[in-house]
């Protein structure tokens, strides 16, 4: 199931070279096993894309990494701690698929509140103010800072949600479909922002998407299907290995391969 072909050399950070390390990771939701024996690593300081069709378990995997998913078994270490460890709560930024902001607060009031939770106390007020202003600018909402979140368009609201995750300086950003429903210009700007965050702040980004053309913008890819990993590689290596032109073709090729393998297993049994 797993592909362990070596990727390009990882950035050498002496303490923890990997941001996320999973082994035998299984998640059960109700009667269904949503994730089955996953094993992978997410290198630090890079953008890793988590791709696969809707319902394949991307969101569940992200929730497991940020520590909000129940019934997780196996090994899952995040930034050197078991996932969900209290010390990780200031070090991870997490954006859910549906924008999770208060509709009856303005953009700035939303960010003010979340900033006060991350960095509480009066002495930090000035730092918080700067962080909030910068986060609003990062997602290009400065002109809408005093608008109620509920009055914004869908794309704008999801950017408010993203801005919350950019507060402070998270070492790991977990973004669940952050570019869904955005226009092409905005999508390009956000991807530029993601690369900027990875390069300038050395942050690790895990970005999910079901749009395969976004895969080309990632350093590494995790391809998922029905709760299993099909590949863990760079976009280039994936295309070369499968002889495909695009990541989308590579993905389809891998799906067929997995189906065929499952069929032979069935018949030899």
């Amino acid at each position: 199931m797993m592909n362990n072909a070596p990727g390009p050399p990882r950035p050498a950070t002496p303490t923890e070279p990997t941001a996320v390390h999973a082994k035998d990771l299984t998640v059960v939701r109700g009667p269904r096993t949503v994730l089955r024996n996953l094993a992978f690593t997410v290198p630090r300081g890079q953008i890793t894309g988590l791709l696969g069709p809707s319902g394949c378990g991307k969101s569940t995997l992200m929730r497991a990494i940020v520590g909000t998913q129940a019934k997780v078994t196996g090994t899952l270490d995040v930034l050197g701690h078991p996932a969900g460890h209290p010390t990780l709560r200031t070090r991870i930024g997490y954006v859910t698929q549906a924008p999770s902001v208060y509709d009856d607060l303005t953009v700035r009031q939303n960010l003010d509140y979340f900033a006060a939770i991350l960095d509480p106390g009066r002495p930090a007020a000035e730092r918080r103010h700067d962080n909030v202003t910068r986060a609003i600018a990062d997602v290009d909402l400065t002109t809408h800072a005093d608008a109620l979140a509920g009055n914004l368009s869908g794309g704008q609201r999801s950017r408010v949600s993203l801005a919350v995750a950019l507060l402070g300086t998270p070492e790991l950003l977990v973004l669940d479909e952050p570019t869904v429903g955005l226009d092409p210009v905005l999508r390009r700007d956000l991807w530029n922002l993601f690369h900027d965050i990875a390069a300038r702040r050395g942050a690790t980004l895990l970005v999910s998407s079901h749009v395969m053309d976004e895969a080309e913008r990632c350093h590494r890819l995790l391809l998922m299907r029905e709760g299993e990993l099909l590949a863990d590689d760079t976009p280039d290596a994936l295309r070369t290995r499968t002889g495909a032109e695009t990541v989308e073709e590579a993905f389809l090729h891998l799906v067929d391969e997995a189906k065929a393998a499952a069929r032979t297993k069935e018949t030899t049994r």
Partner: protein, 257 residues
């Protein structure tokens, strides 16, 4: 990974995060002036109506009016909190907050602080109107009425927070009001003294917190000093509020399925 054995977060309240949460809840309300107006005006209008409904029997107005001063904050805070926390659960903001370094106690105390403040304004206006303009005849101190009203508001907040965990939608949350509040309303002694009810009902009413809220109000109505019964009533209401708040905290899960 061993998520279940992960060290528990610090339990102690963080005052800065608590006040930030309270400020946020109040800011949300300031964007909704109609709700504030309804919360503050309706008890006053009801008391005004009640005064002239019992125009011929001021004693009845005294008794029912005082009881209502305790019941209003309980009901309104129950409704407001159950909807507000349900929204927090369904909008994803609760999940986001619990993935941040926010203690559950901070969140609950923040809500209690915000709605407690609102309850003080609501109760002060209603009590002031009843005592000074509608001639509600209170033997004890109106400040004690206010104290009981505030504790009732906290109890309402606690109950609302707790039931919101069992409501999947705002429709269900609103239906919890008849389920949780109406039985207490019938049995609390508002309609008839509790010792004249069927013994079974009287025993049930002994176990319901609203009975003590109404008892406390009536103690203030009839006695100049703080009686032992009043102290008992206040402690029971406060104890129930704390107990239900703790139960409510248990319904806030960092990890969900």
């Amino acid at each position: 990974m061993t998520p279940t054995t992960t060290a528990a977060p610090p339990r102690a309240l963080n005052p800065a995060r608590t006040t930030a949460t309270a400020t946020r809840v109040l800011r949300q309300l300031t964007h909704d002036p109609r709700t504030i107006a309804l919360l503050i005006l309706i008890p006053c209008v009801m008391l005004f109506l009640l005064r002239y409904v019992f125009d011929g029997s001021p004693r009845t107005f005294d008794s029912i009016g005082a009881s209502l001063l305790g019941i209003f904050p309980l009901i309104t805070m129950f409704l407001v909190t159950s909807i507000a926390t349900l929204r927090e659960r369904t909008s994803g903001t609760l999940e986001r907050l619990l993935a941040m370094p926010l203690g559950k106690a901070d969140l609950i105390a923040g809500y209690a602080l915000a709605f407690g403040t609102l309850a003080i304004i609501q109760s002060a206006l209603a009590t002031g109107l009843a005592v000074w303009f509608l001639g509600l005849d209170v033997t004890g101190s109106p400040w004690l009425l206010l104290l009981v009203a505030l504790l009732d508001a906290l109890l309402g907040t606690a109950l609302g927070l707790f039931v919101s965990a069992f409501a999947a939608s705002e429709f269900q949350a609103v239906q919890f009001m008849p389920a949780v509040i109406f039985p207490q309303l019938l049995l609390c002694g508002l309609f008839t003294p509790r010792d004249t009810m069927h013994p079974v009902l009287e025993a049930i009413s002994d176990a319901l917190p609203m009975s003590y809220a109404v008892d406390g109000m009536n103690e203030v109505l009839h006695h100049t000093d703080m009686t032992a019964t009043f102290v008992r009533d206040v402690l029971i209401v406060a104890g129930c509020a704390l107990l239900v708040l703790t139960l409510g905290a248990a319904t806030l899960r960092r990890r969900t399925a």
